[in-house]
Symmetry: C2
Subunit: 127 residues, 2 copies
Amino acid sequence: MGVMPKQLPVLDPPTATMCCAPLATAPLTAEDAKDLAAQLKAVADPARLRLLSLMMANEDLEACTCDLTEALELSQPTVSHHLKKLTEAGLVYAQRREGPWTYYRVVPDALAGLANVIAPPAAATVA
Amino acid sequence: MGVMPKQLPVLDPPTATMCCAPLATAPLTAEDAKDLAAQLKAVADPARLRLLSLMMANEDLEACTCDLTEALELSQPTVSHHLKKLTEAGLVYAQRREGPWTYYRVVPDALAGLANVIAPPAAATVA
């Protein structure tokens, strides 16, 4: 694996930027609908949902590429592809590197924002 | 448009059935990930997001196919196709018919459930 790099400093999560107000606030514009659909498409994949869940099930919301690859029984290139999609959507970020592995962490505010956009008004749900 | 049918009784929303616990509870199984991805895919489409938003922006969470077709500037068969996808995913239902039109309403608990599954633990988000 070559020379072991020094452990990198812990990175702050990227700022979560949400495209849109909650769906119930006002009819979504065509432009916002396109952006929101793209972010939801990044999540709407079985492997990517499992990756997010593996990170979120840890108290620190992160997981090592080594553990992610093993848990999903997928090749490392496939896992890297899915992590890239999630990173591009702003839902996870490469938090730190240890030797050949990278620790990925979810961007909690991005996922909370996404949940908030699709949630109906609280008054509409069964208590 | 043929004979005007009598107004149908208001229907109760179908019971919302969620496939999975919140992602942060425990690593998602492969089976649950497949079901959840299918439901998220139904939402991850610009036209369907706008349809949901048009319903949710009304206080009673419903909208007439006449208004939906006009607002999206799509053909009625296209709007019907998207409403069918959302209905199959358990996210909306045909609530009542008035003449040639149908009123569709969101299933609030299904959308709340979906939001709840992807939301991170409250402690992880910026207050």
